[in-house]
Subunit: 174 residues, 2 copies
């Protein structure tokens, strides 16, 4: 079942279980999606408010972008798990080329997660400055969560890069 | 409906909507819960593995603590929204004493979120050092997400403390 259709409790259970997926990469993407939704909320709490006449158009645009990023990040949560499952399958059958190809995909997904989360972080910074001041703490939360999502995604990029290096070293020692 | 029983997609939609709850406080608590579940996963990927004989008992204990923290943090996500809704109700009827009391509760909840998330962060640090090295990136992700949950919770503590100060100033100017 796709992550977006799972209840939060069920998702947490599947993270906690002894299977490696969903793991840090999927959780990073979900966190980035939550940060994007917080940005959208700050926009929605600013749109139509008479104290913020000059930023109405910008808020409508940011809300749309944040909504789009939230959907994309949630999709990446599933793709991250799928990519790592392919790595495990290739390792199981001991196919070095397939393992390398699978690892490369397992790097591309968190790279996208980091990129989109950085977009979310930038939007959070903007809405924190010009959005409804009553929702300032929400914008700050979004910024911090997006930053953690970027860092978590980078951990996944690093561990898979190391796995590719290890594969190359194994190849040479043959 | 309790947050734990909502699908991830539905939860994100309710965050993004133009109502202030669930907001940064609830999202912080859910992030802390996800970090706790990641810690539990690292333990579960270490328990029963012959390469880690010396840490088996500790991993079993940490898994139990992480599981407990995940449940508690998820519960705080609901309580955070409830607490802020009480603040809004009290403000609506213009009752200063009720508003202050509601704000004090709205501070206590993120204080708990920050405390439990700090516990999660400490456990993540431990499992990152002594747990299954294949899950090292998951432990690092857990640490970063728990840290962001602490920071987000602190944003909520701060904004509500400022609201209490503003209330006191209003009281004096009467």
């Amino acid at each position: 079942m796709m992550i977006k259709n799972q209840t939060i409790e069920k998702f947490l259970d599947s993270v906690a279980s002894k299977t490696p997926t969903p793991g840090g990469g999927a959780v990073a993407a979900v966190t980035g999606a939550m940060a994007a939704s917080l940005v959208e909320m700050v926009c929605n709490l600013t749109i139509g408010k008479k104290n913020y006449p000059k930023v109405q158009d910008e808020m409508i645009q940011i809300a749309e972008r944040a909504s789009d990023l939230s959907v994309k990040l949630l999709d990446l949560a599933d793709r991250d798990s799928e990519a790592f499952e392919k790595v495990m399958e290739a390792r199981k059958i001991g196919d070095k080329n397939k393992t390398k190809a699978a690892l490369l995909t397992a790097i591309e997904i968190p790279e996208k997660t980091a990129e989109y989360s950085e977009n979310v972080r930038e939007l959070a910074e903007i809405v924190g400055k010009i959005g409804n001041t009553n929702a300032h703490s929400d914008a700050m939360s979004a910024e911090q969560l997006a930053f953690a999502a970027i860092q978590s995604a980078q951990e996944n990029i690093e561990i898979n890069k190391k796995a590719i290096q290890a594969l190359a070293i194994l190849g040479k020692s043959k």
